[in-house]
Symmetry: C2
Subunit: 412 residues, 2 copies
């Protein structure tokens, strides 16, 4: 079904807000088999919205709108859509009750203008909103469908997942199943080349790759007559991907690498301590961003200077003098020292040049990840060939996480 | 001048790419006094682009287009715009030379299809692109103006700043000057209330507030007949803002708080060491993200557990037992220990509940920032009243940075 998305809000035209709602809806609609042909952005202006709504319905049968459903005078999306579709408004008593409960729970008084949100077009399918005050709705007339969602991205997402998606499923000819696979350690074009035998000429399941800073994500999606067929086709394809690229995969369920690492460490009852040079705390920060990290990370070190590498994690000055501060030997000594200094099960370290500067004979982007676990220790060399400080730091952190992942999987 | 922005690219309609180009252009165009009325997104499809170009020119006189200028068959923006404006294409020899130089520099062979990029509409103002291979251009006919930019955000920004902006200045009736002020420690609505005497009824300079996670940014902009007048009006207004809200301002030049703190520490030749509990290394990571941080941060500690607080930065167990691990006393002892354990000039610490859990009698969002500097020490209580782990952690980090800023300014 041909589809347009109209975002309503002057803040978008001022450039204060980026239209992430259109991307979010587009991604989901495409996955469901809808053909998104246009995005429009229009300010809080009734005439211009009326005009763009007509433009959108001229070429497409399904129009999703975001924004302009709130309680203020500016909020006109519902009124314009109802008028365009020739529907009156009625007062929806469930919304009135929801609004009262919402304000009571917060111990506040409900200003009268909030009741504006309780009016919906006659004949619509209400999309009740438990994540905010403004409900959405879907309205169909003569084969044309308008669906209105609130503008705040959190509310839009909630309402799409809890009403919007279910409403749209009736227009899907097939059932859809998909999974998102996360990889690290291989670039997007290399991954595509590796999977070319599966991607080439493949119509269902589809395999889409997305590059993200230092990582690459794969989405495997199938649309079939039944959900079971779609699921089975997806799982078969994932098994074939696993055969070709399994060693780069760290999640089959769209988890972040830090979440996977924390989960595995907790499952194995292992603790970890890091000694970070150029990442300056990013590894420890990533680990502790996951709730429950206190079980596995008790302490960690930022050893930015040579003195700190010696004093805090006991790297002998002779190693630094002999091999250099950015070297496999220093990285290994840092990891071993991080492990023993606090009695952790695993020690992990990084020493490198994030940029813009590097010592003579080295380049920005060169780093060594050191690790120590029980009687094993070693290092992983990294060289991004880039001189972008933030990018390198983030990539080094990801490689530290991946190194821990590989230890936990018995690959190192 | 009424303006539309058309982004061309199927990846936008798939939701793989967010249309940040439209926000970037909108923000800049609004600041220059152009009235952005619509955004459109259309795929790499000649008929649909032709139609939306006509729609845009129906209501607006200036249309900026992004994307579709590359060397492939898909890239059709230039051809459609030239056709719509009734212009033929000519081969621009400067672009040919630029392309040859571009590929020579990279030691690669130039595929023939790259020459497609050297053709531009007759009568256009070329926008030569030193940041990539595809040039942009501006084309005016009968009072209608189309300006085409490449799609990659980095190239778009470069070309807007190095050609696009200068071309557009001829249509500005006035000269514009603006500055961006950064504040922390006050919410957006409180800041607006504080500045209401200046904002209310003010037409030039304008004051716009933007909330960002835990921070608030102010943009003061003036448009006058001469640049000097605009500059002077802006500076006068900034002085008045300073009188009312000076204590919340940390940058008058749109700098990040971590950059300001690193700059001030380097200017004063001071070193700093942190002891971080719930932020888990975010403070050290923010400081070391700024190039040159090695002068001021030698080492730092992530003291996540009670044991780490004792062993690494010497917090007496009696303090933790008497006052609790999340308390002003523990925060101060952590800061003093961080300072003395590595001989830094300043010690900074945080202990708190990021969420989702908190000890009985406490709530997520409660934290204490400790500091120690020479013979001074103290703490700053923080309570966000939110239970959003990532938000709290980031806010605690900002408050640590602000505390250091206040020490350096003699306010603590």
């Amino acid at each position: 079904m041909k589809t347009s998305i109209i975002a309503v809000g002057t803040e978008l035209l001022f450039g204060q807000t980026v239209n992430t709602n259109a991307s979010y809806l587009s991604e989901n609609l495409n996955l469901m088999g809808f053909d998104v042909m246009y995005h429009f952005v229009v300010g809080d202006n009734p005439n211009r919205l009326r005009e763009k709504l007509a433009d959108a319905f001229k070429d497409t049968d399904l129009v999703l709108l975001t924004g302009g459903l709130g309680p203020t005078q500016d909020d006109l999306t519902k009124e314009i859509v109802a008028e365009y579709m020739g529907a009156d408004l009625y007062r929806d008593e469930k919304v009135v009750e929801d609004l009262k409960a919402f304000f009571e729970k917060r111990g506040g008084h409900m200003a009268d203008n909030n009741l504006k949100q309780a009016y919906l077009p006659v004949g619509c399918t209400p999309l009740y909103n438990a994540s905010g005050t403004a409900p959405g709705f879907a309205l169909e007339k003569n084969g044309k469908i308008a669906i209105c969602f609130p503008g705040p991205p959190r509310e839009l997402k909630w309402l799409f997942e809890n009403g919007g998606r279910q409403y749209l499923e009736q227009f899907m000819e097939k059932k859809m199943y998909y999974r998102v696979i996360r990889t690290i350690g291989i670039g997007e074009s290399d991954l595509e080349t590796l999977l070319m035998p599966l991607i080439d000429g493949q119509t269902d399941p589809t395999i889409a790759t997305y590059a993200k800073e230092g990582e690459c994500t794969l989405r495997v999606a199938s649309q079939r007559d039944t959900l079971e067929e779609a699921r089975s086709a997806t799982e078969d394809m994932i098994a074939r991907i696993d055969d070709l690229a399994g060693k780069y995969i760290y999640s089959y369920d769209d988890e972040e690498l830090d979440e996977v690492v924390v989960r595995l460490l907790r499952e194995k009852h292992l603790t970890i301590t890091a000694a970070e040079s150029c990442t300056g705390g990013m590894f420890a920060s990533a680990i502790t961003n996951v709730a429950g990290a206190s079980d596995i990370l008790k302490a960690s070190f930022v050893t930015y200077s040579i003195e700190a590498k010696h004093k805090l994690v006991g790297v002998p000055y002779e190693i630094i003098d002999s091999y250099g501060v950015v070297s496999p030997e220093t990285a290994e000594a840092m990891a071993a020292g991080a492990m023993s200094s606090f009695g952790a099960d695993i020690g992990i370290s990084v020493t490198g040049f994030a940029g813009p500067d590097a010592d003579p004979g080295h380049n920005a982007g060169e780093a060594y990840i050191g690790y120590a676990y029980k009687d094993r220790s070693g290092y992983v060399p990294v060289n991004t060939s880039r001189n972008i400080r933030n990018w390198n730091r983030n990539y080094f952190k990801l490689r530290m996480l991946r190194t821990v992942y590989q230890i936990l999987k018995g690959e190192l």
